[in-house]
């Protein structure tokens, strides 16, 4: 039976390509072009492969598909296990979609060490796809941590003035959260061995064991903090503005487009289903933080003089919606959360690409330096407009579907959260449109902008896919919603089992003796 291990291929292709690129001799940059085209070609092939995976995906099934399982470290029950379901499917496709755009978007802004830049971008893509496809906690953690290194180099080498500070802050914040998750993973595997007699790190095996509630609380906290830092959920968000502002365009696109989703993906995939009772117990707290993040992120975004920072804080706000949708724990909320992850990836990725284009032209990110761009670069402004509206969540564009579903789901659960969160929708219109207006309308106040070039052919090729995707996701949401529905339903069903008994049982927790997993 010759089944193509498509998921392994997805992980291996960029990585192998990246390593081979390292061996291209590139004295005096005479092969920069070759390297860039190769990297772009590889990432396009990778994107095609993700689409191939989508084509082979059975949208009616809630189970993991195209599963590959090989024993890896048998004495600890560690497997090399990959699989894709309706939730991870589109995140992988999104990764495949954004990487070529990020490469193409930074075609001209990366001058030094082009080879290494392409290496790190492709290595990053491999690791990100690995995170989404892993069905073994050990493997997941491995990719989760490995992914930090390329991002660290991308920010640290090709970033702006305070890049080193931002890169180190990024890596330390994320690691500090994730090592505690590692301890929780180890304890969970140990718990599996106390309950069943053998170690296992397999996601599905760990789903099958009944984790005592007192341990669930600790495990959930460890997981949730790791993911909350990544999301980033208020008050763990402080690394994000620094990382975004200092990262090069490609880094920002990937960071906002994919990396942040790993936090919400982790909550949805691991923290909630593995520890349903603790999740039910803590979800009001998480939702509160999410709502604070929505409003706070929007308010702070409003007063930013720096476009990248503005978009960064808008991400805090938008990701707050995603977390809110997850904590609602109903089908609308969770589906909306996944949809919002995708649409935010497209629209914010697009915004960072656009800001990158402006920075390429003027070498500044300050809103006050611009103004009246409509007169000098109408095509750029048109694209900017559509992507801005998609980010705000105008009906008919990508952002609307996700926000609507999340608010709907939240409303079914808790009206207060939904009402406060809805104000975030209005606020996002305020800060995005205000920024758009200051940058693009009015007279050309700054003489440096008078000669600004409009979109080049390359830039059109970068923006067209983003706009097309934003529109497509707005008008045909069922294309994405239907395949993810069975998988989301599975998680919702699992959470529903937990809910009725949550309050009573958790309150009794204090008297529960610690029966397993420690002494």
């Amino acid at each position: 039976m010759a089944v193509v291990p498509i998921l392994s291929l997805l992980i291996a292709l960029p990585l192998v390509g990246a390593v081979l690129l390292l061996f291209v001799r590139n004295r005096d940059h005479q092969r920069d072009g070759f390297i860039q085209w190769t990297a772009l070609g590889l990432s396009l092939v990778e994107f095609a492969a993700t689409l191939w995976m989508w084509a082979k995906f059975d949208p009616a099934s809630a189970d993991f598909q195209m599963v590959e399982k090989v024993d890896w470290i048998p004495s600890f029950g560690i497997q090399y296990a990959l699989g894709v379901d309706g939730i991870s499917l589109f995140l992988v496709v999104l990764t495949g979609f954004l990487t070529p755009l990020a490469l193409l978007g930074s075609w001209q802004s990366i001058h030094k060490q082009v080879k290494e830049f392409c290496f790190f971008m492709l290595a990053l893509e491999s690791a990100m796809i690995g995170v989404f496809l892993s069905l073994d906690m050990f493997l997941f953690y491995l990719f989760w941590d490995a992914m930090l290194i390329p991002m660290y180099f991308l920010i640290g080498i090709w970033g702006y003035e305070r890049r080193i500070y931002a890169a180190v802050k990024f890596i330390l914040y994320t690691m500090a959260g994730s090592v505690l998750m590692l301890i929780a993973i180890l304890s969970l595997a140990h718990l599996h061995s106390t309950l069943t007699g053998s170690y296992s790190f397999s996601y599905e095996a760990l789903l099958a064991i009944a984790v005592p509630r007192n341990l669930q609380v600790w495990f959930f906290l460890a997981f949730a903090v790791a993911f909350a830092i990544k999301v980033p959920l208020f008050p763990f968000h402080t690394w994000l503005p620094d990382a975004h502002v200092e990262a090069p365009t490609a880094g920002s696109v990937i960071l906002a487009g994919v990396l942040l989703k790993m936090g919400t993906y982790g909550l949805l995939r691991f923290a909630f289903p593995l520890f349903p009772d603790a999740a039910a117990y803590f979800s009001p707290l998480l939702a509160t933080l999410a709502v604070i993040g929505i409003v706070y992120g929007a308010l702070v975004a409003m007063v930013q003089p720096d476009m990248k920072k503005l978009v960064a804080y808008s991400s805090v706000s938008h990701l707050g919606f995603v977390v809110l949708g997850i904590t609602a724990m109903n089908i609308q909320g969770m589906q909306g959360a996944v949809y919002q992850m995708l649409s935010h990836g497209v629209s914010t990725g697009g915004l960072f690409l656009l800001v990158g284009m402006l920075v390429d032209r003027r070498h500044t990110r300050l809103i006050s330096e611009f103004g009246g761009l409509k007169h000098v670069a109408p095509k750029l402004v048109a694209a900017f407009f559509i992507i801005t509206l998609a980010s705000i969540g105008l009906p008919g564009l990508a952002g609307f579907v996700g926000e609507f579903l999340i608010l709907f789901g939240a409303f079914r659960w808790n009206v207060t959260f939904a009402v406060v969160a809805a104000s975030g929708v209005i606020l996002s219109a305020v800060y995005m449109l205000w920024m758009f207006q200051r940058v693009n309308y009015g007279p050309v106040t700054n003489p440096k902008n008078e000669k600004m070039a409009d979109l080049s052919t390359r830039e059109k090729w970068v923006l067209w896919p983003v706009i097309a995707m934003a529109v497509f996701m707005g008008v045909a949401p069922w294309v994405f919603l239907n395949p993810m529905k069975p998988a989301v339903n599975r998680i919702v069903a699992r959470m529903a089992e937990a809910e009725p008994k949550k309050v009573v049982e958790i309150q009794k927790m204090g008297s529960d003796p610690i029966s397993v997993g420690g002494r």
Binding site: I73, S75, D145, I149, R163, I164, I183, H190, G518
Partner: protein, 484 residues
């Protein structure tokens, strides 16, 4: 004892004999070398080490006893194998380094091999007196190696400090042996274990004194806080290639003996020594990383990092279950390959005139010598425990065993300190990749091919074991059965 009985009894120490003979050969070669004659003295050492490696393979699984005081069980042989790896890597990286540091080749190789011989015997010693003897054999060789650059002030200072404090700790250790002997009537580990458990000596204050003294002696050799004071000075003063050697080999040998004494002779006293080691482990991990952050000298920084790594090994000693014992072996090998790699690169980049010991010396190294910068990055990432390098698997193994033993505090402090340690490892990376210009703007001389090959193989091994660690984990797990 007739000659015919000595023959088989020698079996257990054949690896040690191989290395000792190689050491003697190096000394003779140096003595009979004409002035300015170039001689591949290191090659002699390699032959001895390869012979030792072959002997280890032949002895594997046989539990050979020699003279009643040496037991070449798989645990000891595994550590001997680690020591052989350390020796081979050090010798392969030495040629460029000792020329640029102007070290006397013959003495250097002879001392190196004698030290390894002592350590290898220590790894299989089954008697407290033999442990003490071997401790002295390798310590004295290393005191001298630390001070090989006689004209360099820091080198002499480091050697002297190391010697004085080392002498003290040896005295403590010997005193501990004396107390043990006084109570038990034997220094043989099996005998000690039998007497301690059978005669209910567990609460005996004198035995606790003996235990304390032994712990001080070992804690000094593995540079556990608060017995670490000599480490930064000795590491900084020693020629860099020697630092790499002593930071790994001494740890491997000392931890092997430490584990053997604790898990066999003093296992009945676990309730007494485990809390002490618990405190030592926490202090060691925290101090090693926190003080490491403040260093601007790369050698001192790696010295503190090696203290911290000793702390992780102490965690495994406290955990004390099967996985913990196996993880010590696994960790020792990975740590050895990684740390030697990092120090060897420093040694190969620097010279006596321009030691490249400070962080600033690595500014922009990526531009001037990308291969060395890349290799150093991978070694540092492995030290920091990043996947997919073996450093991650090693840490994961140790912390798994700690969690299994219910030592959550140790595991949590361990992972948090390793995040802090990432900060200072990355400082070097920042210097190499993200800072322009600086002292490294002038390209360092190209390293010798043998060294590059050795380092490239080390990196390949680190990636291989980071991705496919199963066989080594199984091997380590199978070789601890002998000391259970």
């Amino acid at each position: 004892m007739s000659v015919s009985m000595i023959g088989p009894a020698l079996n257990g120490i054949i690896p040690v004999i191989c290395v000792t003979l190689a050491g003697i050969a190096c000394m003779l070669a140096e003595a009979f070398r004409a002035r300015d004659e170039r001689m591949p003295i290191g090659g002699l050492g390699l032959i001895g080490l390869v012979g030792a490696g072959a002997a280890i393979a032949l002895l594997w699984g046989r539990n050979t006893e020699s003279f009643g005081v040496v037991r070449a069980d798989d645990f000891g042989l595994f550590v001997q194998f680690v020591l052989v790896v350390i020796g081979v890597l050090t010798i392969l990286c030495s040629p460029g380094a000792i020329e640029r540091d102007k070290l006397p080749a013959g003495e250097y190789y002879a001392l190196l091999l004698f030290a390894i011989a002592g350590m290898m015997l220590m790894a299989v010693a089954n008697d407290l007196l033999i442990i003490f003897l071997t401790l002295e054999v390798f310590s004295i060789a290393i005191y001298v190696m630390t001070g090989l650059r006689r004209e360099v002030f820091a080198s002499t200072e480091g050697a002297f400090k190391y010697f004085l404090l080392g002498g003290f700790s040896s005295a403590f250790f010997l005193y501990g042996i004396a107390f043990t002997y006084g109570l038990v009537g034997s220094t043989h580990l099996d005998r000690v274990a039998a007497v301690v458990s059978s005669q209910s000596l567990t609460g005996n204050p004198l035995l606790l004194v003996a235990l304390g003294l032994l712990l001080v002696g070992f804690a000094f050799k593995v540079s556990a806080v608060p017995f670490h004071m000599w480490t930064p000075d000795a590491y900084e003063g020693a020629p860099t290639i020697v630092t790499g050697f002593m930071s790994t080999a001494v740890k491997a040998a000392a931890f092997a003996a430490f584990a053997r004494v604790l898990f066999s002779a003093l296992e009945p006293l676990r309730g007494d020594w485990a809390p002490v080691l618990w405190v030592l482990a926490i202090c060691t991990m925290i101090l090693g990383t926190v003080v490491g952050v403040a260093q601007t000298n790369l050698k001192r920084m790696l010295a503190y990092s090696s203290i911290a790594h000793g702390g992780y090994l102490l965690v495994a000693l406290v955990a004390g279950n099967d996985n913990a014992k196996a993880s010590i072996l696994f960790y020792l090998l990975i740590y050895a390959v990684t740390n030697i790699g990092a120090f060897a690169i420093m040694a190969l980049l620097g010279s006596r005139e321009k030691p490249r010991e400070y962080l600033d010396d690595y500014k922009g190294l990526w531009h001037t010598s990308p291969v060395m910068a890349g290799l150093l990055t991978i070694f540092l990432l492995s030290l920091g425990g990043f996947p997919p390098t073996a450093g991650f698997v090693a840490k994961w193994y140790v912390f798994t065993s700690a969690v299994e033993a219910g030592q959550y505090a140790l595991a949590i402090i361990g992972v948090l300190t390793s995040v802090i340690s990432v900060f200072f490892y990355l400082r070097v990376v920042v210097m190499m990749y993200m800072s322009e210009g600086g002292a490294a703007a002038e390209a360092p001389a190209a390293p010798p091919r043998t060294a590059l090959v050795a380092l490239a193989i080390s990196v390949a091994v680190l990636f291989y074991l980071g991705v496919l660690p199963t066989r080594l984990i199984d091997l380590a797990a199978s070789s601890i059965r002998s000391i259970l």
